[in-house]
Each structure stands twice: as C-alpha cells, then as structure tokens.
C-alpha cells in the first residue's frame, strides 16, 4: 500500500472501464494540445517580428473553418459524454446478487456491518470476485466513501441512503478515504479495504463470537420497540401490515402513490405524519431521537426481508383454489 506509484492499482471491474475512458481523454488532451501548441510555436518562429515571412492577404475570418472547429469537437464531445454516461449508469446500479454491507459515517470514523451481522470499524473485508453493495448514511455531516483502487466514490449524506457497489478483482489492501470535507479530523477519517480469497473471507466471516444478521437484529427491534404491537394481523390498533409491501406502490391518504423504499420507510419511522397510508389514522408516535442510525437500518433490512412474504390477513393468491 505504501509503494511509490504513478498510477493507482486497478482492483475492481469498474476501475478498468473508467481507466479506459481516462486514457482516451488523456490521448485526446495530448492531441488537442498538439493541434494548438504546434501551430503556436511554428507561427511564433515563422512570423516573429522582423522575419522575412510572407504576410500578404492575411485571413481574418472564415465561416468554413469556424464551423469545422465547432462541429468536430461537438461530435467528439457527444461521443465522450455517451461513453461516460453508459459506464456511470453501470457503476451507479448495483447487481441484484451483491453482498450487502451497511456503512455509517460519523465524525470521524466509518462503522460498517455485513448483512450476516459482522461489524467492523474503518475496515472492510470482502471476497474477491463478488459484487458488494454498500448502503450508506451519515450520523452527522456529509462524508464521502472513496476507494481509489476501485474508482469507487459516493457521498454519504445524513438523512438519506446512498449506494455504491464494486466487484474486487485483486486480493490486497486498499485505502478508504473520506473525501468530502467533514471537519477537524477529516484527513484522519481513513481506513482500508481488505480483499480476500472467497475461502479466506468465509473463514473470516465465521470467526469471532456468533452474530445476529442485520435483518434478524431488525426483527428483534421490531418486537422490542413495540412496532409489532400495531403492525401485526392480530393487533387491536389499525396499522398497515408490512409484509410484502417492500418495493411496491401503496396509495396515500393524499391520493398520491408512493413506492415503499428506504426513504419512505425511514420517513415513516421518523416523521410518521408526513405520508399516511390510505385508510389509516395518524396515530403512530415518531421514533426520531430514540432509534440510532444503525437501528433504523436494521429495521429497514427486516422490512425488506419480509418484502416477499404475503400479509397474513389477506388470502394468499392460491388459497381459494
């Protein structure tokens, strides 16, 4: 990690894609510099003051030339834009089979938890060759989770969840930097990613004390904090059931439709009166200040994990047969 380098290690699949564009841009820059600097130097010598060069009939305008050096760059730029946008779209959309890791940034450390429950601070262990998705939020100010070797970079914003993903290609250790200025010890908010062979990773994951997965921790919280007292089929309070709703649109009292996602569930926990589900009363208390960011993420993971179940009080689609 401490070797002198001119170029960063290329340790993820997107690193290779991004570097390819980078090299194309470097080549274009060299080309344009040649196109501009060579004539400047040539003219500077040929037409220096007092030289005997022919200066008769100088051209001072040409719509043809102007159009040329407007249209050619335009076409090149549209090509570059498209290439960059396609790769960007790819690096911004995690594959479905990605391993899930939750990341919480705070002044000035990273707290990470694997879906299986294992927790780390300022370190991230991952297997080589598997896609890993990070779901991130911040407890205080904006941070940014930056792993140069993976060309991986995403701001970590309080009050919302951001995502990034990578597929590591080289075992080794790589820097994690916080790249969004976050206060006094910003430059100390660093860590490392450890990329391991899959077997080593499985071994690493299973050492230490037995763990509770994030979703299980969420289920436990769901009971302990009293969520299940209302959000269950046999409750005497009228509250929406949460089984099977993740990722689906639900109607609101206001007549709008909203997709049940991280934002909606988070807001419903902290600001329950904001978007009331159609047919329900605003009776839920806010949990702002009583749940930590980690606990909210665990609850989210639990509600997501029951997203494929059917609600107990609705007849299952094949029950009537």
């Amino acid at each position: 990690m401490n070797r002198f380098r001119l170029f960063p290690p290329e340790a993820s699949t997107s690193a290779q894609q991004i570097d390819l564009i980078y090299f194309a841009l470097v080549a274009l820059t060299v080309l344009i510099c040649m196109i501009v600097f060579v004539p400047i130097i040539f003219f500077s010598i040929k037409y220096r003051r007092g030289s005997k060069a022919d200066r008769s009939n100088p051209r001072v305008e040409s719509v043809f030339i102007e159009s040329g050096w407007t249209i050619v760059p335009l076409l090149i730029f549209i090509g570059l834009f498209s290439w960059g946008a396609v790769v960007y779209f790819h690096v911004e959309n995690p594959p479905r089979d990605a391993l899930q890791v939750q990341v919480i940034g705070k002044q000035w450390m990273w707290r990470l938890q694997h879906a299986e429950g294992k927790q780390e601070i300022n370190e991230l262990h991952v297997p080589v060759g598997r896609a890993v998705e990070l779901t991130m939020t911040s407890q205080d100010v904006i941070h940014s989770f930056f792993v140069p070797a993976f060309r991986l970079h995403q701001d970590v914003v309080p009050g919302k969840y951001t995502h990034e993903w990578f597929r590591a290609t080289q075992p080794g250790e790589y820097h994690i930097f916080c790249s969004q200025y976050c206060g006094t010890q910003h430059s100390a908010m660093i860590g490392r990613v450890v990329v391991m062979e899959p077997l080593d990773y499985a071994h690493w994951l299973n050492t230490g004390r037995p763990m509770e997965s994030i979703a299980l921790a969420g289920e436990r919280l769901f009971r302990e904090r009293g969520c299940s007292g209302c959000h269950s089929g046999n409750s005497k309070f009228h509250a929406p059931l949460l089984e099977g709703i993740w990722g689906k649109p639900v109607p609101l009292e206001s007549g709008e439709m909203v997709t049940v996602d991280e934002r909606y569930v988070r807001d419903s926990i902290l600001l329950p009166g904001k978007e009331i589900s159609k047919g329900y009363q605003n009776i839920m208390p806010s949990f702002a200040g009583t749940l930590s960011e980690q606990e909210i993420m665990q609850l989210l993971a639990y509600i997501k994990s029951i997203g494929n179940q059917t609600s107990p009080n609705e007849p299952a689609p094949n029950a009537s047969r």
């Binding site: 990690m1 070797r3 002198f4 380098r5 001119l6 170029f7 960063p8 991004i18 564009i21 980078y22 841009l25 820059t29 510099c33 501009v36 004539p39 400047i40 003219f43 500077s44 037409y47 003051r49 007092g50 030289s51 200066r55 008769s56 009939n57 051209r59 001072v60 030339i65 050096w69 335009l74 730029f77 570059l80 834009f81 960059g84 946008a85 790769v87 960007y88 690096v91 100010v141 904006i142 140069p148 070797a149 060309r151 970079h153 995403q154 914003v157 309080p158 919302k160 820097h175 930097f177 790249s179 969004q180 200025y181 206060g183 006094t184 910003h186 430059s187 100390a188 660093i190 600001l271």
Partner: protein, 552 residues
C-alpha cells in the same frame, strides 16, 4: 479609428503636465473620487492586500504538505488556512481582479466615454467591497473559519465551531459590490459608446466584460440568498438544510453551485477578453473570427448557468440529472475551444512581438487549454466518479483560475501599466517574471493531476506516504511561483519613479484608450470626443513587419 501618430498630443519622453493622478492629491481626494481610473487603482491596492494574505495561507499549506504527517500546523489551523485561501482568492481577488481593476480603468476609455454611467455607485461599490473584506478579515483575525470556501451544510450550519456567520456576512456584503459593478458596466456599455462605436466595432475586451457583467448581476443575488438562508439556519435553527431539523443538505449544494459555477466564468471571461486584446496587438493583425469570439463570450455566459450540477455527480443527485448536467458541461466547453482556436489562427501571418504581455497571453493559451481539457475529464460522468474532490479537481481549476485568470490579469496589467502610470515597466525583468511564473505554475500544479488520479483527496492535512514525492514537487513549484509574483511587485513599484516615460501609445495599439495621453487627463478625452469609423484592430502585419516596439 485614427492611427496613433495622428493624435500624438503628447510627445514621447515627457509626462503630460496635468493628468488624473495629479489632478487633486491627498487622501481625501482619493477616498472621495468618482473617477473610474482612480477607483480602479483603489481596487488594485485592495485586492493586492487580499492576494498577499491568501498567498501566505497557500504557502503555509504547501509547507505543511511537504511531509505526510500533519506536523507544521494543527489540523484545525490547516482547515482554516484553506478556507482563508479559498474565500479570499475567489471573492476578494479573482472576481474583482480584472473587472474591478482593469475593467474600471479601461472600459470607459475603450468606448470613448468620460466615466462609467454611475460614477458615485462605482465608488460605493468599492466601499462595500472594503466593508465586506473588513468583515472577512475580522473573522480571520478572531479565530478563522473552518468550513472551506464552499460552506457545505450541515457542517457549516450545525457542526462548525467558528466564525461562519461573520465570514458569510463578509462575502454577502462584498457580493453587492459585484452586482453594482456589473450593473454599472452594462449600463455604460449600452449607453455611453462613442459616436460610430457600434456593437460589432467594440473591442473584444468589452464583449467579455459585458458577458461577465450579465453573470455578476444575475448570479450574485443567488449567492446572497444562499448564504443568508445558511445563516438563518445556523442562528435560529430553522430547518432548511440540516436533515436533523427536517432540511435537505443537497439543496444547499444546488443553490451554492447555481452561483458558484457561473462565478467560474466571472473569473475567466475577463481573462479571455484581455488575451484577445493582447494577441491581436502583439501579432499586429486583426483577430481571427471576431464575431465568433464575441458570440462565444455570450454563449459561455448563458450556458454557464446550466451546468451547476456537474459539481454534484457523486452527491446523491439523480443519475439522470447527472446525465443532463454532463452533456451541458461538454457543450459549454465548445465556445472556450472556439476562442483558443481563433487566438491560434490570429498568429498566422502576424508579426509577433514577444513582449511581456504577449508572453503572459501565450502562457494563458497553453495553461487554459490544459485546464479546459482536464475539465472534460470532470464532465465525463464515469471519470468524475473517481476524481471528484481529489487533487485532480484542484489542479484543474488552478489551471483555469491561476494559469488562466491570473496570467491574463498580469498580462493586462503590464499592457495597460503605461496607460495607468505613464511609465514603462522594465521589459527584461517583465519577461523574466513571466517565464518564472509559467515554469513555477506548471511545477506546482501538474503533479497534482497525478496525485488526484492516484486518489489523494483535497483538504487533507496529512496523507499516506506514497503521495509525498508529488507534494514535494508541488511545494517546490509554489516557491518558484512565489518569486514570479514577487518580481512584478518590485519592478512595478520601481517603475513608478524610475520607469521610462511611456508616451500615449507605446504599443502602437489601436483602441480609443491609446488615443489619449498617458496617464490620461481627468475626463479621459479632454480635447475632443473620439469618433469611430471602422472595425477594431486595424493592424497590418505586413506594414508593421519591421516595427520594433522595444525601440519606441
């Protein structure tokens, strides 16, 4: 336009008996002046003070970064240093540099006017600027601010434990000086042009200053609103940006960059205007593609308002918004490219004089080209994901701001120095300083491109040891750059007393500002109002092939 020799009302080698500098002397006469030329000089001294403070902050940062450990200053001090550097350089040096100093001095003369449209407002703008600067300095002296010049929320509103409000107030107040100056220039250019000086006979410096003024007037109020709202949240805890209070921190970034990206063009368009003047004068040839260069300035002013989201590709802004901002950012690069190509073509069949201003102008083209091309890296979505908030960004915008704007400012200052003071600076020292600046600049900032792609984040007080070599190179370059800036300071002051008397038009330049004595009389054109009858830049390289400006 008449040639310089016909209007030679002042013989070379002799200063005019009465001019704007000796019209009325004394501190009070200067502090109450409404003469645009004197106000330009007041601005020059003021921004020099801010430039020196901000340079000292930069020097301390470069010393800190010599070693990977944070051992020269504490992390808290370091964070305050880059905030001071950013705030002072952007708002108290770069933005007023060419507009308020050179623009104030030459715009009325260039268009044949006695003064700007609102001379009293012009003086007021300087007082407002000084008041804003004083507030900012007060914040620095009383402990500084550690938010960075970007004041990102919720750090600035909730977490920063420093004089955020005072510094934001300083910037807020100084913004009104920008607005007044922009308004003044627009009105002046619309209403006070000499007879015959139609829009397409205007020097390109006027076009670029007009484009700049449009941005100053339209964008600066957004900055004022943004900072005011930020202060409201910080003081009263009204939830606008902090999610804990129900706000959205990304909203701040949208508002901030809605001003601050156009502000980038406030900081480069005037430089482009100066370079257009210098290239054509010292090639002794009419500029290539006048109409395209002028239109490019206006295109930049308009498109510049539509690209702010390219600062936010990894901020959690929508992927689709990112795509729109990316393509628009590529588009805004086109008018800049057009300008570079036209300047290059102007040299063809010219008669090129390598005077100090010309060296700065050629340096500008080189550095601006590299700065502009590396801007494309940042406009490319996928590549920006990697280099965002790294030293690559630092290198890129310093190539534009320092390699571009400061080079142009120095070029313009040398070009109009004889007009401002009536005396010439020493040419050899001038060329030497221009070359030292160019070399020092590249050594300072080129290694930062490599550092950035390696992944060194900006605003880091300490860094992993593998980044050290490039940081050492950069610091070495900064010390050379420092000499490049110190030299002109010395010989400009020297020339005030010992410089050769310039005469009205030492460059044999076209343009109305050269048709009046140096230094000009109080009302610019005492004897007769100039009348314009032809296109600008009526140079002939063929006739001037043997002209030697050094012997004049």
């Amino acid at each position: 336009m008449k040639t310089a020799t016909e209007i030679d009302i002042q013989t070379a080698g002799e200063m005019p008996r009465e001019h704007y500098l000796n019209a009325k002397t004394g501190v009070k006469a200067w502090l109450l002046t409404t003469d645009h030329k004197r106000i330009g000089i007041l601005y020059l001294w003021t921004i020099l003070v801010f430039f020196l403070i901000a340079s000292v902050a930069a020097a301390m940062m470069r010393i800190e970064l010599l070693t990977p450990q944070g051992d020269f200053v504490t992390n808290e001090t370091y964070n305050k240093l880059f905030t001071i550097h950013g705030v002072l350089m952007v708002w108290f040096f770069l933005i007023p540099s060419i507009p308020a100093v050179l623009g104030n001095f030459v715009i009325p003369m260039m268009i044949g006017a006695r003064d700007v449209a609102f001379p009293k407002l012009n003086l007021l703008s300087w007082y407002i600027f000084v008041a804003g600067g004083a507030l900012t300095l007060w914040a620095i002296i009383h402990g500084g601010v550690d938010t960075g010049w970007t004041f990102y929320t919720p750090y600035s509103t909730t977490y920063a434990n420093s004089h955020v409000i005072t510094m934001a107030a300083g910037v807020f107040v100084a913004g009104f000086s920008s607005i007044i100056t922009g308004l003044n220039f627009m009105t002046t250019i619309h209403k006070m042009r000499a007879p015959g000086l139609t829009w397409f006979r205007l020097p390109l410096f006027i076009w670029s200053m007009y484009a700049t003024s449009v941005i100053l007037v339209l964008a600066t109020p957004v900055l004022a609103i943004t900072l005011a709202v930020m202060c409201v949240e910080r003081i009263w805890g009204v939830g606008i940006f902090d999610p804990k209070l129900g706000g959205d921190p990304i909203l701040f970034q949208h508002m901030f960059w809605f001003y601050s990206h156009p502000a980038v063009y406030i900081m480069i368009l005037p430089g482009m205007g100066v370079v257009s003047e210098l290239i054509t004068c010292f090639s002794r040839k009419r500029i290539f593609g006048y109409g395209f260069v002028a239109a490019a300035s206006m295109a930049i002013a308009v498109l510049g308002f539509l690209v702010w989201g390219h600062h936010m590709f990894v901020s959690s802004q929508s992927v689709y918004a990112g795509m729109v901002f990316s393509i628009l950012s590529f588009l805004v690069a086109i008018p800049s490219a057009i300008k570079v190509f036209n300047w290059t073509a102007t040299l063809h069949k010219g008669s090129i004089h390598f005077t100090t201003p010309m060296l700065y102008a050629l340096g500008f083209i080189g550095l601006f080209t590299i700065g502009g091309m590396t801007g494309l890296f940042l406009a490319t979505l996928a590549v920006d994901v990697h280099v965002h908030d790294s030293y690559f960004v630092i290198a890129h915008f310093h190539y534009i701001m320092v390699g571009g704007m400061v080079m142009a400012f120095m070029g313009g200052l040398h070009y109009w120095w004889p007009k401002i003071t009536g005396r010439l600076y020493p040419e050899f020292a001038g060329k030497l300083a221009a070359m030292i600046t160019f070399a020092g600049f590249n050594l300072t900032f080129f290694p930062q491109f490599i550092l950035g792609y390696l992944g060194m984040p900006r605003r880091y007080h300490a860094y992993p040891p593998e980044f050290q070599m490039f940081n050492v190179l950069s610091t070495a370059g900064a010390s050379i750059l420092g000499i490049g800036y110190l030299l002109p300071l010395i010989y400009f002051l020297w020339s005030l007393k010992f410089g050769r008397v310039a005469g009205p038009n030492p460059w044999r330049a076209t343009g109305l500002e050269w048709q009046t004595p140096s230094p000009p009389p109080k009302h610019n054109f005492e004897e007769k109002t100039p009348v314009v009858t032809e296109k600008p830049y009526s140079y002939s390289a063929e006739e001037d092939a043997d002209l030697n400006l050094a012997s004049i």
